[in-house]
C-alpha cells in the first residue's frame, strides 16, 4: 500500500550520526593514545639513561595532539560526510553529529593528555626529578603540571577549537571549491591559532606571540575567546555544509 510520509518524529538522526562517528573515531583515538604513550615512554627512558630531567617533558610532547585533532576535523568532513549523506543522513545531522563526536573526542583526548601529566608526576617523583613546567615560551592557563583541572580545561578548549578548524577548512573546500574555498583556510587557521594565542599554548600561537611580543590574556578572557572561536567556527561550518552538493561519483558507501 502506498502512503504519504508520516509526520511522526524520526529517531534523532543527529544522535545516530554522532554515535556512528564516535565509534568510527574510536580507532583514531586509540592510535593517538598509542602515539602519546610511546612518546612518553621513549622520552622518559631516554632521559633516564642519558641524564636527569629538570622539567616536564610531557608538556612539550602534548603540544602535538591539537594537530591530531585538526586532522580529525578534516577527516570527519572529507572522509565521512559523503558516506553519511549517501546513507541517508542529512547535512544538518551529519554536522551536528560530527560536532558532538569531535567534542566528545576532545574530552577524551584532554583527559588522556592530562593523565599523561599524572603518569609523568609519578615517574618524576620516584626518580627524584623536579616536576615543573620548563617551557620558556609556553604560557598556559596553568602554572604547574599538577594543576590537573586547569590542564584539562585548556586542553579541551585547544582540542575542540582545532577539530572545528579542521571541519571548517574542508567544509569550505567542499562547498566553494578550491579557489574560493581556499580563502577559508585563513578562517580555519584563525580559529586554531586564535585559540592558541588566547590560551597561551601551541606552537603556532607561541611563534606569533613571540613575534608580536605579546602576553596571554587573563584566563577567563582566554577561555571566553577560545569558546567564542569554537562556537563561531562551528556555526560557519554548519552554514557552509548546509548547501553542500555531493557529485554522484563521490557518493560513497564506505571509506
Amino acid at each position: 500500500m502506498s502512503t504519504t510520509a508520516s509526520t511522526t518524529t524520526a529517531r534523532r538522526p543527529w544522535l545516530r550520526a554522532a554515535g556512528a562517528l564516535g565509534a568510527d573515531l574510536s580507532f583514531y583515538a586509540v592510535v593517538w593514545t598509542g602515539v602519546g604513550a610511546a612518546l612518553l615512554i621513549i622520552n622518559l627512558v631516554a632521559n633516564t639513561v642519558w641524564g636527569d630531567l629538570e622539567a616536564s617533558i610531557w608538556d612539550g610532547n602534548a603540544s602535538i595532539f591539537q594537530y591530531a585533532m585538526l586532522g580529525a576535523g578534516i577527516m570527519v568532513v572529507a572522509g565521512y560526510l559523503p558516506v553519511y549523506l549517501t546513507h541517508g543522513i542529512t547535512r544538518r545531522d551529519v554536522t551536528s553529529g560530527a560536532l558532538i563526536a569531535l567534542v566528545g573526542l576532545a574530552v577524551v583526548a584532554a583527559l588522556a593528555t592530562t593523565a599523561g601529566y599524572l603518569v609523568e608526576s609519578v615517574v618524576f617523583d620516584v626518580a627524584g626529578w623536579p616536576h615543573v613546567l620548563g617551557g620558556e615560551h609556553e604560557m598556559h592557563i596553568y602554572d604547574s603540571p599538577d594543576q590537573y583541572g586547569l590542564i584539562f580545561v585548556e586542553l579541551f578548549f585547544l582540542y575542540a577549537t582545532h577539530a572545528i578548524a579542521g571541519m571548517l577548512i574542508v567544509a569550505a573546500l567542499f562547498r566553494l571549491g578550491w579557489v574560493f574555498g581556499s580563502v577559508f583556510l585563513l578562517a580555519g587557521a584563525g580559529v586554531a591559532v586564535g585559540a592558541e594565542l588566547a590560551l597561551g599554548s601551541g606552537a603556532a600561537g607561541v611563534l606569533i606571540r613571540d613575534w608580536l611580543d605579546i602576553g596571554a590574556p587573563p584566563v577567563v578572557v582566554g577561555l571566553l575567546i577560545a569558546g567564542g572561536l569554537a562556537v563561531g567556527g562551528a556555526l560557519l561550518t554548519r552554514a557552509l555544509l548546509a548547501g553542500v552538493v555531493i557529485e554522484s561519483k563521490d557518493a560513497a558507501l564506505w571509506r
Partner: protein, 297 residues
C-alpha cells in the same frame, strides 16, 4: 510502508552549463520496481542524485511521499542510492557493514550476514576486494538497508553473470516479503527486464517514455512484409517507425505505438507479420534515435 516518488518539471544544470535533466515529469507509485534506462550521459545518475538529495534540482521539484526530501531527515533515511562501487576503501568489510547498520534505521543485520555468505565476500580491507566483490558488497548495502526507496545506479556492472543473477533473485525475493520502490539503472536490460514493473527511458536529459513494462512491450512491434504494404500499414495505423530494414521487396519496420485489434486483423489480411520486440531493442531505438534508421538486410 512504501513511498510515492514524483518529479515535477525537474531540471538539473551543472556549473559548467551542462543540462543534465530537462523538465522531467515522472511519477513512480510506491512499491514499483522501475527500470531506469538510458545511454551513458542520458541523465540517469543525475536523476537518482536528486532523489537521494545529494543535490537540488535547478528547476522543478522532487517529492517523496508528497514532500520535498531535501534535508528532511525522516525522508532521506528512507532513500538509498547504491552507486557503482568505487575503488579503494580503507575499512574492512565487516566495519563498513557495521557502520552502515548504525546509520540506517531499517537495516537488517541478519540479512546482511546472509548476503555476505551468499556473495562470498571475505572480511578483508575493501580495497583488496576484486571489482566483482566490491560490486556485490555495494548491492548488499541496498538490499540489507531495506530503504523504502532503493536505487541501484549500475553497481552490479562489475559482477559476473552468476552473481548478477543471484542479486536479481534477491531483489525480487526480498521485494516480495518487503515491498518497496526499487529503481534499477542498467545496461543489461534483457537480464533484468522481467523484474521491471515499469520502465522509464531517458535520452539527453529528457524523459522519452515512462510506462508499465507490459504496456511498453505491447507498443513495440516489428512489422514485416512487402515494402509497400508495410509503409501503407504503418502510416494508416499511425505507428512511429523507429527503424527499418529492407531486403529486396521485403521490409521490416520496428514500430512504436498502440495497435488495435482492427489494425492487427488488417495487417493479417495484408499478409504482414507482426512480432514482438525485445525490451533491449526497444530501448536502443527509443533512446537516441530521433530519426528513423534505415538499413539493408
Amino acid at each position: 510502508m512504501t513511498l510515492d516518488l514524483e518529479l515535477r518539471g525537474a531540471s538539473l544544470r551543472y556549473d559548467d552549463g551542462t543540462e543534465a535533466l530537462r523538465g522531467i515529469d515522472l511519477s513512480v507509485p510506491g512499491g514499483t520496481i522501475l527500470g531506469l534506462l538510458g545511454r551513458n550521459g542520458a541523465g540517469k545518475s543525475s536523476l537518482m542524485s536528486l532523489v537521494a538529495s545529494l543535490r537540488r534540482p535547478t528547476d522543478g521539484q522532487v517529492l517523496i511521499g508528497g514532500r520535498d526530501p531535501w534535508e528532511d531527515a525522516e525522508l532521506t533515511a528512507r532513500v538509498a542510492l547504491v552507486g557503482e562501487a568505487a575503488e579503494g576503501g580503507a575499512w574492512k568489510v565487516r566495519d563498513a557493514v557495521t557502520s552502515a547498520g548504525r546509520l540506517r534505521p531499517t537495516w537488517d543485520a541478519a540479512y546482511a550476514d546472509r548476503l555476505l555468505d551468499l556473495f562470498e565476500i571475505p572480511n578483508v580491507k575493501i580495497a583488496k576486494l576484486s571489482r566483482g566483490k566490491r560490486a556485490a558488497l555495494a548491492c548488499l548495502f541496498g538490499l540489507a538497508g531495506r530503504a523504502p526507496i532503493t536505487m541501484y545506479d549500475e553497481p552490479y556492472l562489475g559482477m559476473d553473470a552468476p552473481a548478477r543473477y543471484a542479486f536479481y533473485d534477491e531483489v525480487l525475493s526480498d521485494y516480495m516479503v518487503h515491498p518497496r520502490t526499487v529503481i534499477l539503472s542498467t545496461h543489461h536490460i534483457d537480464e533484468v527486464a522481467s523484474l521491471f514493473g515499469r520502465v522509464a527511458i531517458l535520452d539527453d536529459g529528457r524523459l522519452v517514455t515512462d510506462d508499465e513494462t507490459d504496456s511498453l512491450r505491447a507498443r513495440g512491434t516489428e512489422v514485416t512484409g512487402p515494402a509497400a504494404a508495410v509503409d501503407e500499414f504503418t502510416g494508416a495505423a499511425g505507428l512511429r517507425v523507429l527503424s527499418t530494414r529492407s531486403l529486396g521487396g521485403t521490409k521490416a519496420a520496428v514500430t512504436y505505438g498502440d495497435l488495435t485489434d482492427v489494425a492487427r486483423r488488417r495487417a493479417a489480411d495484408a499478409g504482414l507479420e507482426l512480432g514482438p520486440i525485445p525490451l533491449q531493442d526497444l530501448f536502443v531505438h527509443l533512446s537516441g534515435a530521433t530519426q528513423p534508421e534505415e538499413a539493408s538486410l
